[in-house]
Symmetry: C2
């Protein structure tokens, strides 16, 4: 038993790689992390391509498994619902879940630095920077590296290698993708995004309500704003790259100024000089990456490298963290608990990818679906009425009926299950809306009666 | 006008790259070709992963455009139809098109060598071997190369660069795929293939009819055989990699022997020692590659690098050659005919990809569709009756009604048009088959009457 694997390499010191180091370390493995960028904590790297991230229960669970949740709580701001802003400046609020349920805003730079601290403090991991994976021998556990500063090439080897190097994963591009029978697709959506920082008031206070995610839905495009700890909001405009209403037509300061005044007047009032800051952040693209297998030889992909998605369900990071939970649970099942590092990795890898791939696909489908919801329906009275109805059903039957958004954001139900059930629930509620006047039922107080009548039909098994 | 581009680089001395060199050379460009393999003509490279190829009118047209068809005619064997072999050894023959219409069997090694000869003789191209493209600067027309024998890296530059380097294109993998907004997918199908060479008789004669493509369709798998010049046939077994009836269960000589005796008895009688040759060729995989854009900066993809498909319509090579025709026709439209090398390449590239991408997608869809046809329906009496009916319609109305297979294999109709029309025709004929007894109509001689009655409905505009 002394020949058991004890060394692990993680490619990428991002969110998932940093957390996974803690898991491996706690299981007895010696962990080295190779990161292609510089140490984010020591250099002022622009957070240009960062959308704020929304942490939800799947992420928290992955932290709690290894006892690091306290470190992240320090930098997270709860958001209990969405606040929609219409063109008149009217606000509509919609809670995300039941009372007390929230998703948590974290800045990408903030959580990235925190996670690296955690990897070093709790994971005892050594992180090597500027080391780009240029090739790999998947069966032997060998990674070929090239230092981006010195140009020096080197080779490192371990019993296990985890590719946690993001949507544009070098492990996947430079090694896995070139193997036989490896299926892969990268599909950019027609929309891009641009970040705008809405600063705090001079006294440090917030310019908008803090504990909510703000949305300015405008059909083919939308603006969102998530709170930061320092009183500012990170705002993101999503719209098509090309076409009639698109970033193509937002090139000059005049165009930007006119656009914000016309379509986001209340935002413009908070930040009349928005056009001056337009070029501070680049125009970025959004891509869905699908691949299979997720494991080959001694290598496994976790997080975005396996299933990068568009950000519209706020689950990209959470799904990556949940990969850690899934792999860890499989580790418990396939080892001798009395022998450190006795995990049966071939079995774990195979079960991991078979079990988790449908969930990776599902969160991508859900993310695309929610894009249309946020863009097109979130301000629609019919949609809001449906959500109100579903909220009431869930209040009356909290154990039996969970709305789709809550399944994804406030439960640990598999994404593939949530997708299947959620779509079927949606269909059944819509059918019910055709037969019954929900507005009237809410007004005359007979909505609960209706719900008790139809509840069995609404439950999707 | 003396500043016009005059240099072109082609990456890949395969079929399309070699032919494209002739086009460019005739238009006045100085052409260099960089090929990652050794010179096929000087080394004995196993034709292991080669299926024989079927040349049809789209390919011939591309040769005729630049007057090189005579060179290829020397190595091509016409096949006028398919001969189906059932498990009892019974044969059914089905012509591919009208009398005299044929597709032409060429061996991959044979045509590859011929095409390189053509590139040098007619295209005045210089071919550099063992030069692997490892990176590129798409906007500047720079290709970074690494010699696979010496390891020496170098950089070459041209006004135009064409990536004709096949399904696993280095230009696409190592440069294009890493650019923003580049969509890409590689999808392996669940079937693989293995080649078997059925030798000639001792006196050099053929063991099967020569001017036909032989198929042993067996539902979930099939064997095909195409004639070679030397009396042999190149045979290919297509079947799933894994599962009940799959290559997994054809590992030992006993398994192979038993399998051929049971399911291909007439083939086994011709080659009773088939199991001895089983391991002469590797088990290969089949993949569909889709991407967009096909052109970036000074680079364009032609052939498999842009739209590799599975081989079941025999159009992979033909569609690549047709890319040359399309690009060449656009060159005629966007140049000053009195000035050599005056082509407006940005316009040509944009029109090329916009026009040709739907056809690349369509031939991939058609190839997959024909896989099911060849595997599942080619021996089905209903299918054969439908083909017989369509053949008769096309005899009576040759100008108005062209069966799908003929549109693809014997016409220059765009693949996307053929796909659309063919699917609609198929639907309409199937509807007609439900209402009328074709067998009886053929027997009592009233089939023509029926055709005249319904012809207007059968024509898809």
């Amino acid at each position: 038993m002394s020949e058991q694997p004890k060394n692990a390499i993680i490619v990428g010191a991002g969110l998932v790689g940093s957390l996974w180091a803690v898991y491996l370390s706690k299981a007895g493995y010696k962990v080295r992390i190779y990161e292609s960028r510089r140490d984010l904590r020591k250099t002022d790297i622009s957070a240009g391509k960062s959308i704020n991230l929304a942490l939800s229960v799947r992420g928290w669970k992955a932290f709690k498994n290894v006892g690091v949740e306290k470190e992240v709580e320090k930098i997270a701001i709860p958001m209990y619902g969405r606040t929609m802003h219409d063109t008149e400046g009217n606000l509509t609020y919609q809670p995300y879940g039941k009372e007390g349920e929230a998703i948590y805003s974290v800045s990408r730079a903030g959580i990235n630095c925190t996670m690296m601290d955690i990897a070093e403090k709790y994971g005892d991991a050594e992180i090597f920077y500027n080391e780009q994976c240029i090739d790999a021998d998947l069966d032997k556990g060998i990674v070929h590296l090239k230092n981006r500063e010195t140009g020096v090439e080197s080779t490192v080897e371990a019993d296990l290698v985890f590719g946690c190097d993001g949507a544009f994963s070098s492990v996947r591009y430079n090694a896995m993708q070139k193997t036989n029978l490896f299926n892969f697709s990268q599909q950019f959506i027609e929309d891009g995004y641009k970040e705008i920082l809405l600063p705090a008031n001079p006294d440090g206070s917030y310019k908008l309500d803090i504990n909510t995610l703000h949305i300015w839905p405008r059909g083919r495009f939308m603006l969102i704003a998530l709170p930061n700890e320092d009183g500012s909001f990170t705002c993101t405009l999503f719209m098509p790259h090309k076409g009639e209403q698109s970033f193509e037509h937002l090139k000059t300061e005049e165009e930007v100024d006119k656009f914000f005044k016309e379509v986001f007047p209340d935002f413009d009032a908070l930040m009349p000089e928005v056009e001056d800051y337009w070029d501070q952040h680049p125009l970025s693209s959004l891509c869905i990456m699908r691949c299979y297998p997720w494991t080959i030889g001694k290598f496994a992909l976790l997080g975005d490298s396996a299933h990068a998605t568009v950000p519209f369900y706020g689950q990209g990071m959470n799904s990556g963290f949940e990969d850690c939970t899934v792999m860890w649970e499989l580790m418990q099942q396939h080892r001798d608990p009395n022998v450190p590092c006795s995990e049966d990795w071939p079995t774990i890898f195979e079960k991991y990818q078979q079990q988790r791939k449908p969930d990776g696909d599902a969160i991508q489908d859900l993310s695309l679906h929610n894009y249309y919801v946020m863009r097109d329906y979130v301000a629609d009275p019919e949609f809001l009425l449906q959500k109100k109805f579903e909220g009431r059903v869930s209040q009356l039957y909290p154990e039996r009926y969970i709305p789709l958004y809550s399944q994804v954001s406030f439960s640990h139900i598999r994404y593939s299950e949530a997708l299947r059930k959620g779509m079927e629930q949606d269909k059944r509620v819509k059918e019910l809306m055709k037969e019954h006047d929900f507005t009237k039922r809410f007004e005359d107080g007979t909505i609960d009666e209706l719900i008790h009548e139809v509840i069995d039909h609404l439950i999707v098994e």
